[in-house]
């Protein structure tokens, strides 16, 4: 379990958006962050709103490239990012979206169709599975997304707060499946603002605030620093 699957080396990412003809707004979403995720572990990223968690996940997924520093990824690794509200075409049915999603993960159409049956069962969407995603509630969307991601075989699963949506029964089922997967070869990076979830799922984690990393290491020690900081604020 000692080989790194993804390594961040002094990574910085800056967003730039124009607010006027000659004015622009820049924001360092990730500022000089270094860490590595080991094969087969569950790595947590803890942080409040706007701390750069989602950007970090998008970089882990390879969607965004850093402005400075470098990201080293082990060869032939498939990565899948799971986040709410994104990645679905609202006009298409849940089934079609799941099919496309599987095909994007490298499944052939035939295999994707087989997997789609399993996704239908796991997601417990019932007859909504063949309805357009625009008719879904946010809980249903997250169930579809989670089911698709967890059932497709990928090497690294990147999860963005999805477990916070959905009812208690599904949340428990999702956590259990995730724990089962953790015992297999799957590497998971799990982003949350809830220290409880991180505590129950992750071996190691890091704490992100305003794009900077304040602590990283095993969950207990990071949590100790985190809760200290929270109490001071109070």
């Amino acid at each position: 379990m000692s080989d790194a699957i993804i390594t961040f080396d002094k990574v910085t990412l800056e967003y730039k958006s124009r607010v006027g003809l000659f004015k622009s707004f820049t924001h360092k979403a990730i500022d000089n962050v270094s860490f590595s995720v080991q094969k087969g572990e569950v790595f947590g990223v803890l942080g409040g709103n706007g701390s750069g968690k989602s950007t970090l996940l998008q970089m882990l997924a390879g969607i965004l490239q850093p402005d400075e520093g470098r990201i080293v990824v082990a060869p032939n690794i498939t990565r899948s990012l799971l986040s709410l509200g994104l990645g679905f075409n609202p006009q298409l049915t849940g089934e079609d979206n799941a099919l496309i999603s599987c095909m994007l993960n490298g499944y052939s159409k035939k295999d994707a169709k087989l997997l789609s049956k399993k996704i239908e069962d796991f997601s417990e969407l019932g007859k909504f599975y063949t309805q357009p995603v625009k008719t879904y509630s946010s809980g249903m969307k997250s169930r579809l997304g989670f089911s698709t991601a967890i059932l497709s075989k990928v090497d690294v699963l990147l999860i963005d707060e999805v477990l916070s949506v959905g009812d208690i029964a599904f949340k428990a089922k999702a956590q259990n499946t995730l724990l089962e997967k953790i015992n297999s070869d799957l590497t998971v990076v799990f982003v949350s603002h809830s220290d409880q979830q991180i505590k129950s799922l992750c071996n190691r984690c890091m704490w992100l605030k305003n794009g900077s990393m304040l602590a990283q290491g095993d969950t207990a020690s990071v949590m100790a620093q985190y809760s200290q900081n929270i109490t001071i604020k109070k």
Binding site: Q58, A61, I63, L64, G87, Q91, K109
Partner: protein, 257 residues
């Protein structure tokens, strides 16, 4: 992602898009045939009863020009906006960006097959029955497909980089409409050098003239012009593909700005 996976993905996404669009309409799939039919009816009405130009073959002449042109303009417009349309997917996954314009081109192609069927039926009804010559439509359609894919992918780069470019595309289409010989016959240009230049520089003009040569005048395709079209198509596709690969990261970042 290998080629066969990409092709299967493009086909699947294109058919799904068509299905979902059809489901959103009351007349559903019927629109694929209805739309070209209505278009033909509109042209017939305008040219026969409003402009009194229904004489001779002008109506057919116009249709054979306009239907391929509409394919080009619709497909390129939709392909150019394809990456912005799929923002959600782009921000969630690493997908080669060329896929997006190609999905929209494929969708437009499937719809165009209905339009071409309507066109051929109308040709037969009007006694243009040189069916033995129709096989030449296959290389023509193929060439136009590559041209559309090429131009769409280049425009997709521009539109994703700066949405302002959408305005330019509108102008570009209008310019093409006037210079491609849709309402007039390119063979009527007296100045041979000028005609040659137009057919070389504007692949769409050469395409439209070729459709007429095949469907109306029972002629063989001019290989020289076909080569020009192929050269333009491959050139634009290579540029588009290269830019979408090379500037993939820049384009993703533009979607946030």
């Amino acid at each position: 992602m290998n080629i066969s996976q990409a092709v299967s993905l493009i086909h699947t996404q294109a058919t799904m898009k068509m299905k979902s669009q059809a489901n959103a309409l009351v007349l559903s799939y019927l629109w694929w045939v209805l739309e070209p039919l209505l278009f033909v009816a509109l042209f017939y009405f305008v040219f026969k009863y409003v402009l009194y130009r229904g004489d001779g073959d002008f109506f057919i002449f116009l249709l054979v020009g306009k239907i391929p042109f509409l394919w080009f303009s619709k497909a390129v417009n939709s392909g150019a906006n394809s990456i912005i349309q799929n923002k959600g997917l782009v921000l969630q996954r690493v997908i080669p960006k060329i896929i997006f314009p190609l999905v929209n081109c494929q969708e437009a192609f499937y719809k165009q097959l209905f339009a071409f069927s309507v066109l051929l039926l109308i040709m037969v009804f009007n006694d243009f029955v040189n069916v033995a010559n129709w096989w030449q439509l296959i290389p023509l359609i193929l060439l136009q497909y590559i041209l559309i894919a090429g131009v769409s992918s280049v425009f997709a780069v521009f539109v994703t980089f700066a949405n302002d470019f959408s305005v330019v595309i509108g102008m570009f289409m209008m310019g093409l409409m006037f210079t491609s010989g849709i309402f007039w016959d390119i063979n009527l240009i007296q100045d041979q050098a000028m005609k040659e230049l137009l057919l070389t520089l504007n692949p769409l003009a050469a395409l439209i003239d070729s459709y007429r040569q095949v469907l109306m005048y029972d002629n063989l395709l001019n290989v020289k012009y076909m080569m020009y079209i192929l050269a333009w198509s491959l050139l634009s596709f290579s540029i588009g593909y290269f830019c979408l690969q090379k500037y993939s990261n820049v384009l993703t970042r533009r979607l946030f700005a």
